[in-house]
């Protein structure tokens, strides 16, 4: 019994799950049952993949011990690259990979600068936040490019599927990515290296793990997922605006933290990051349904983030107090 309790207390995503259940119940009651009806769920699930994909990348990178503030800008830069090329007459099969390559390059630059010059990634990616946003506006020429209709296979990402058209295709893409990244982290040797690199760098190095390459790979994956998420939003909206994704980097960090990821690295799960992202969508939507002034959203998000960290620290302390004897 004690062991079981400890196992649950040790799960980093526990706090997020508790908050998710609580808030869902509150909003369901306050909205007179509108919150969980099919129409509203469909709307929420349609938006979730865009935040959640970014949160997955940021969570992975934080577990590896690094930080990415540039994801919001990459979220805009990738589809803008694609959009400008499409408007210029390039086919989708070239424009899309080109946008993804740009996202990967941003991650590569973030990683190399952080690792080679031993700069905190907070600084490197803060710089990149401005650089990538500026690049987005510059290549757009100030106006969103006019993408010819049918230049993008929108249905691949935005079509409604499933029972009662509950999901968009983007939700399936998100599920596939979430599953793959989770399995990579928990079931492969590369995942082991990521957690070791973030958990205790000197040990990872002493055991011969190529920690520099592991970090750079995580930066690139994080950037790639941000670009992918941005492209999904643009397919949904139909045109790439230079301003999309502003503030998303902080939402993603909040999602990771609410989901139990430690800023110091080594602790956290992909599921936790997804739960955090879901919570953010739930609050956003729930406040609207409860007819609360939308300006309260950031207040709620901020309170939740700090509250989750405090609760997490408290749970971890409780868990440590349960001394399961380690020796037989």
């Amino acid at each position: 019994m004690k062991r079981l309790l400890k196992i649950y207390l040790d799960k980093p995503e526990m706090t997020g799950i508790v908050f998710l259940i609580l808030l869902t119940a509150v909003f369901e009651i306050r909205s007179d049952g509108v919150f969980l009806n099919a129409f509203n769920l469909q709307g929420m699930l349609g938006l979730l993949p865009e935040t959640a994909l970014v949160a997955i990348g940021v969570t992975l990178l934080m577990i590896c011990g690094e930080f990415d503030l540039s994801v919001g800008s990459v979220f805009a830069l990738m589809p803008m690259t694609m959009g400008v090329m499409l408007a210029d007459g390039w086919p989708f099969v070239l424009a899309y990979p080109a946008g993804m390559t740009v996202a990967l390059l941003v991650g590569l630059v973030n990683g190399i600068i952080t690792v080679r010059f031993a700069i905190p990634s907070f600084i490197t990616t803060l710089g990149m936040l401005f650089v990538a946003r500026s690049a987005t506006i510059v290549i757009s020429g100030g106006f969103p490019p006019v993408i010819p209709p049918d230049a993008m296979p929108k249905a691949l990402f935005t079509a409604f599927v499933g029972p009662g058209d509950m999901f968009r295709m983007s939700f399936l893409w998100f599920l596939a990515v979430a599953l793959l990244v989770s399995l990579m982290l928990s079931r492969t040797n590369f995942g082991n290296w990521i957690r070791a690199t973030g958990g205790f760098l000197p040990a990872a190095q002493a055991m011969g793990i190529p920690t520099a390459r592991v970090k750079i790979a995580c930066f690139m994956l994080c950037s790639l997922l941000a670009g992918f998420a941005g492209s999904i939003q643009v397919m949904r909206l139909g045109a790439p605006l230079p301003s999309i994704g502003e503030g998303l980097e902080l939402q993603a960090v909040a999602a990771a933290v609410i989901g139990g990821t430690a800023l110091t690295g080594g602790i956290g799960t992909i599921l936790g990051g997804i739960i955090g992202a879901t919570l953010i969508r739930v609050i956003d939507n729930g406040l609207v349904l409860s007819r609360v002034d939308a300006n309260w959203f950031k207040m709620a998000l901020g309170t939740l983030t700090v509250g989750a960290v405090i609760l997490n620290a408290w749970l971890r302390q409780k868990s440590r107090a349960i001394r399961v004897e380690t020796e037989r």
């Binding site: 082991n192 958990g199 011969g208 380690t326």
Partner: protein, 243 residues
């Protein structure tokens, strides 16, 4: 006498002006337990960091089992059969025992280009066996290393080195900050190594510990070896004098 397993010839290392190693030469016989002592800053860590591939010597030669070697990374040394156990550096507290046992050397069920799917069953079973072999009876290989005591952690590190059939085990101050009982346990481990055919280099600034479990004492000061005797032919007084 058998051939030495490690031969160090005229090793030099400079750190921007500091002459950390000043022409160190040392032969170590297989199965020997060598105690390396000296004050802080004597160059002990620098010497073993070079042997374990963490640092590269500026001058000098190392032979391992008779062959000249140049360890460029910790992995080179590990692959040759030299495992190093540091006071803090060898375990990730936020990971389980089974995962820590195999960091960087995970058994895989399938792989492409060195990355693949963990054989978690093999990892658990090998961990349990390895811990049992060093007489460490932990409840589960899934427990986090961060929940173990300092002595238990060193036990896991030693079990890991054994599992990978290391020929030489270097222990850099493994007993620092350990309780008396735990220290005794680690010293016991070191004593049992020669029966298992493992050569040990044990670094400590506690001379009593070194006398307790080593066959040979090497003392360093200011980057040089100042004393090198079998334990039976020296005394703590003599050691105190040279240090």
């Amino acid at each position: 006498m058998t051939d030495p397993i490690i031969q160090v010839q005229g090793l030099h290392k400079w750190y921007s002006g500091v002459h950390a190693l000043n022409g160190v030469s040392l032969d170590i016989q297989p199965n020997q337990a060598v105690g390396l002592v000296g004050d802080n800053g004597a160059g002990k860590s620098t010497l073993i960091n070079i042997l374990s591939g963490m640092q590269i010597a500026d001058e000098g030669e190392i032979r391992f089992e008779g062959r000249p070697v140049q360890f460029r990374t910790p992995r080179d040394a590990m692959d040759a059969g030299i495992e190093t156990i540091y006071q803090y550096n060898s375990m990730v507290p936020t990971m389980s025992i089974a995962r820590n046992m195999f960091i960087g050397r995970e058994p895989l069920r399938a792989s492409v280009g060195g990355v693949g799917i963990l054989d978690r069953k093999a990892m658990r079973e090998a961990s349990i066996a390895a811990l049992r072999d060093v007489d460490l009876h932990l409840r589960s290989p899934d427990a986090l290393v961060g929940e173990l005591s300092g002595g238990q952690r060193q036990g896991v590190a030693i079990a890991r080195a054994m599992h990978f059939k290391s020929k030489v085990m270097i222990l850099d101050e493994p007993t620092n900050h350990l309780a008396v009982k735990e220290t005794q346990k680690v010293l016991g481990f070191i004593q049992s190594l020669s029966e298992l055919g493992i050569t040990a280099i044990f670094i400590s600034h506690n001379i009593h510990h070194v006398f307790e479990c080593c066959d040979r004492i090497v003392a360093m000061a200011r980057g040089e070896i100042v004393l090198d005797r079998p334990t039976s032919e020296t005394s703590m007084d003599e050691l105190h004098e040279v240090l």
